[in-house]
Subunit: 652 residues, 2 copies
């Protein structure tokens, strides 16, 4: 059976391609030096880490915040996934954040965080991240460390080559990994070739508020758009995308999409396209996508359904899009701090391909094309090539940069990080990873100003690196000190979810702006109780609204009677604390939702639909004072037809 043979062959290939390179227990301890290695990763009690690292959670759907060099996780920021811990995606205020054109989606696969930039340098206002599965982009506010906005992307499918920002955060750019029919329609999968499209979305970011607007989508040929990075410096105004499956195969992809010797890096002059669209270019297309915004003053998320997008045919904008041939199924697509070099790492090759931006411009100027693909000019490989790094490794994936002209590339198959010199292409150092490294991150490594003190390698295979925890384990990351000529492995730390890319910055960029409380006098929540005297319970048919306030260690009201089976009870709870780090929690027995975790000055809402007659307790879920255990109340639930009057106790 041919089918079976193909599969057996695949299994053999896969076993090879997924080998770990450096298996077995190894130690970084090196005799007399081990003490100083410990010191390098150690942050003593009461001292602070030097850098923030924002790791994507991958299939957790969230972002996790770590300190470097300690590798300690300071927060998990819920973005695309429900988070029972705080009630994100369960509270009435946050449920709208997870709305999409497909309805409520409680999860996504978050890959590539990117910190906002001004003039190509990190400015620390926001961090962006992509939802891979149900295509979305999120903006997280770096004063509150909370998700502030999520926009869905129509026509996209597997939003992987995202979210990368341009040099002044003009746009968040997001490319589709999977091409699909645009507009979607009922058609045979076998007719993919020539019929499916790859959408690349440009979402503008308002300079003052950060607010998104989906400005236009470029409809590229039906390849897979894998990763991207922005131009900077001279190449500002351009975006670069790696592609694979230029074969446009649609089945047995692991064989059929690896046939071409070279795929492409797509170079997109977005300034030209922006100009074209501003001049009335592009086509208005009817579609449907959700735009969800969280307002910090009303503490409320709202979801709006949009129904139109401007699409752009790249062949209609001459000089805007070119293909740079790049061996072989390139994965990473990275741009150095000067903006001159575009690195394409063919994941099935050993060598790295470096394109030159100046060469590219010259080739375009000279119109030296090597044919075209769906009307898009293909440049000649030799014309744009700046150099090749003969790495000696296998399976190169991603490259980051320091401020001294060095590049650091990960190799998945040979499990290592290789340091090499930009311009000379010479390999300077290599260090094993444990095991099978994917992305890596240097703080500011995707900007004009990297801070090359540490590199974090995010590994895909963990195996024996930590005490075992059954079949399922966390992925592992490793920190290398790169301040010297040679990289030094200083620490292993487990991560949460599956980090793909990460973004880091010096601690000083964020720590002084970090918000400590929400001001109660600025609380504009429609159900806020700003004074405990105003606490009340209001019935409106079968809906009951509880306007509740909390302060150490009391709920007002603390007892409620007159609730009936079949009611829908909204607990709107305002935390009256105005001190840093005094949240209160709220939960009601048998509730079909999560708790609420309410920050000082904030109002949050939980719904309860009582099903059983009785006297049922609620309590504070966050240990808030020595009398926290006394922070409780009861709700009396009467039968649906009862005449028990609505009453509540305010502390008399």
């Amino acid at each position: 059976m041919k089918k079976f043979n193909v599969i057996l062959t695949l299994v053999a290939i896969m076993a090879l391609l997924s080998s770990c390179g450096n298996q077995g227990q190894k130690s970084a301890s090196n005799g007399a030096l081990s003490s100083s290695t410990a010191e390098k990763a150690y942050v003593a009690p009461g001292e602070h880490d030097e850098f923030y690292a924002f790791l994507s959670g991958g299939y957790s759907g969230n972002i996790t915040v770590y300190g470097l060099p300690s590798g300690r996780m300071f927060k998990e920021i819920p973005v695309f996934s429900q988070f029972p811990t705080s009630g994100y995606g369960y509270s009435e205020e946050t449920k709208p954040m997870l709305n999409t054109s497909f309805g409520f989606v409680p999860w996504d696969d978050a890959h590539h965080p990117d910190i906002s930039q001004t003039n190509g340098e990190l400015d620390g206002r926001w961090i962006f991240i992509n939802g891979n599965n149900t295509p979305r982009i999120a903006r997280i506010d770096l004063a509150t460390f909370e998700t502030a906005e999520i926009i869905e992307l129509p026509n996209s499918a597997g939003n992987h080559s995202s979210s990368f920002i341009t040099e002044n955060t003009e746009y968040v750019v997001a490319g589709t990994r999977f091409s699909v029919p645009v507009p979607q329609r009922d058609m045979p999968i076998s007719e993919y070739k020539g019929n499916f499209k790859g959408a690349v979305s440009f979402i503008s970011v308002a300079p003052d508020t950060g607010r998104f607007n989906l400005e236009f989508q470029l409809m590229m040929p039906g390849f897979n758009y894998d990763l991207a990075h922005p131009g900077r410096g001279d190449s500002h105004g351009w975006m670069f995308f790696s592609t694979y499956n230029t074969e446009e195969a649609n089945t047995l992809m692991e064989v059929n999409s690896s046939q071409n010797d070279k795929d492409f890096i797509a170079a997109i002059n977005w300034k030209k396209i922006e100009e074209y669209v501003k001049g009335g270019g592009g086509t208005k297309m009817a579609t449907e996508y959700a735009h969800n915004v969280y307002d910090e003053e009303s503490h409320m998320g709202t979801s709006t359904m949009k129904n139109e997008v401007i699409t752009v045919d790249p062949t209609k904008v001459p000089g805007a899009v070119f293909f740079l041939p790049t061996p072989k199924s390139p994965h990473g697509c990275d741009v150095d701090p000067t903006g001159q070099y575009i690195i394409g790492n063919g994941k099935l090759s050993a060598d790295l391909t470096i394109h030159s931006f100046d060469n590219m411009l010259a080739a375009i100027e000279g119109k030296k094309f090597d044919g075209e693909a769906y009307g898009i000019p293909i440049l000649k490989f030799e014309d744009v090539l700046a150099g090749v790094v003969k790495s000696g490794g296998l399976g190169p994936l991603h490259t980051e940069f320091d401020e001294k002209g060095n590049a650091y590339t990960t190799f998945f198959i040979s499990s290592e990080v290789v340091k090499w010199k930009l311009g000379t292409w010479e390999v300077l150092d290599r260090q094993p990873t444990f095991y099978s490294v994917g992305h890596l991150m240097i703080p500011g490594g995707n900007s004009r100003k990297p801070f090359g003190k540490y590199v974090v390698a995010m590994n895909k295979i963990t195996k024996d690196r930590y005490l075992p925890t059954g079949p399922e384990m966390e992925h592992s990351a490793q920190i290398y000190d790169i301040s010297g000529d040679k990289m030094q492995l200083i620490y292993d730390f487990p991560t949460h979810g599956e980090p793909h890319y990460a973004a880091g910055c010096p601690a000083d960029l964020l720590k002084t702006n970090s918000k400590k409380i929400y001001r109660l006098d600025e609380n504009k929540h429609p159900y806020a109780v700003l004074n405990p005297n105003d606490a009340k319970v209001v019935r409106d048919g079968k809906e009951v609204h509880v306007y509740m306030s909390t302060i150490r260690s009391h709920f007002t009201p603390d007892n409620i009677e007159g609730i009936k089976v079949g009611d829908k009870v909204y607990f709107h709870i305002t935390n009256h604390e105005q001190d840093f780090d005094v949240p209160h929690g709220f939960s009601m027995i048998g509730q079909n939702t999560s708790e609420l975790l309410i920050m000082p000055g904030q109002t949050k809402t939980s719904v309860w639909e009582p099903k059983k007659v009785g006297v049922w307790p609620f309590y504070c879920t966050d240990f808030c004072s020595a009398l926290h255990q006394e922070m409780q109340g009861y709700v009396r639930v009467s039968p649906a037809n009862s005449s028990t009057p609505l009453t509540y106790t305010l502390g008399e």
Copy 2:
């Protein structure tokens, strides 16, 4: 206004009671010694931690697994809460685990983990934990580190003095924090006193399988049952519970339940009650509670609704229950390794009260009672007292023990851990905590055989200990080396959720038994595909079942046509890998559920209800090989009335 004055007074009291004691940046660095401190917390790359620490997640609903002394988090085990990362609580197999008599409850508040014991020593088979809000007890298998069983507790409300196991894991014992009407009924909250009951549940644990059975519930007076610990050694057969609100107040609890100078520790002779029930004692009561079991071979959870429980009136079993007066609103209730001393820490006092088990037996023997409460004899304080620790601290909460006869008590208000001597009651050492410590944990500290090398303090207030992350922060823990005479703070680490209690054990107890894969040839899942040749798609009316297999890096089938809008599509996915640490993931665009993370040899099921006509991709969400990006497929969705035939591609 009287109401307002009361509240203002409360605010002032609370501010005092929640002060942190030791605010401001402090460092453990101490000049020449700092290097050795770093070494103590440092676990070099490739080396392993000495101890496992299982921290409750509090309002995360889960358990987190850490290493000591590194403070690194190796896994979050989903228990009571939906976990989008792995699909727990979203996949068809795991949704039944969160079923209750109130319906599907996606969250709980997990407090007190306890590792199974044999003859009073940790045996490392299972770990148990309580759900506080919708009363439940869970059992986690320590070979797979997965939740194996959850049982709901009727008549309980705020399942806080739980889950503590007896010396041979005969029972998991669970007490209610809030008393409620039993059976539940529609009655005024103001009639609480004398009418509400406090249920204490005894759940037997089958010695071979660990399987739960709710054997009986003891119906105690309507106090609040706060914490508990089992007797051991001579006191094996007894359980001890701290109580507060012996005032039976029901409003403004933080004032009204702190009126009595002494509350009680309840001493319960469960062997006597067990004998009584085995002899036909107790009352069968109609009720409703869910019992959920996950079967490792079928990879399937099932939920069964039970409808009867045996209740026991303590006054009907003479000699079984006694009250030991204990100042003042005691919180922690801890028993030393010998089983002789029962420590009650009045959270509003400075001193610790230590009761003697022998004194208690003598007092019972001599029938020297100081009256009774609802028919339960009250022993005389002086008769049972073994000693008092004059601590000099404020707000004592919890106590753990080492193997050298020392006890370690946390003080919330004065923010410190105090080490003192059992028997002499002399204070030996004190170290500040940062800030406001709640529980603490020594591996084996709740057993006959503690491993007193480290103590972990779990703090309630974080403030400036780490780089700031906006208003919401993780709680903080601290590790002290207690191998010497004086405790030495060696490291701060942030935790996930809000750890209350924790349980720890030497790494060797678990590491060799940790399962690496599930055997495919033992997979009994009804929809498993054990050979890719058996992959298929079967329509049954509007239900479609996809029998899918995965191996690096391919889904079989990879393309499906003939799905229609309005269908309910079940993806049953079997991971054919049999290597350690090669999970595959699965997600479908626009799905209203989470991904699946499928371990080697396992089958999991995800439901998709397609809403839109088109060609929609799915992909593997866990980077599994160099060709992971090619691990994808498409589903063609046709209109509801379409006649597109059902077809699928198996790799031809």
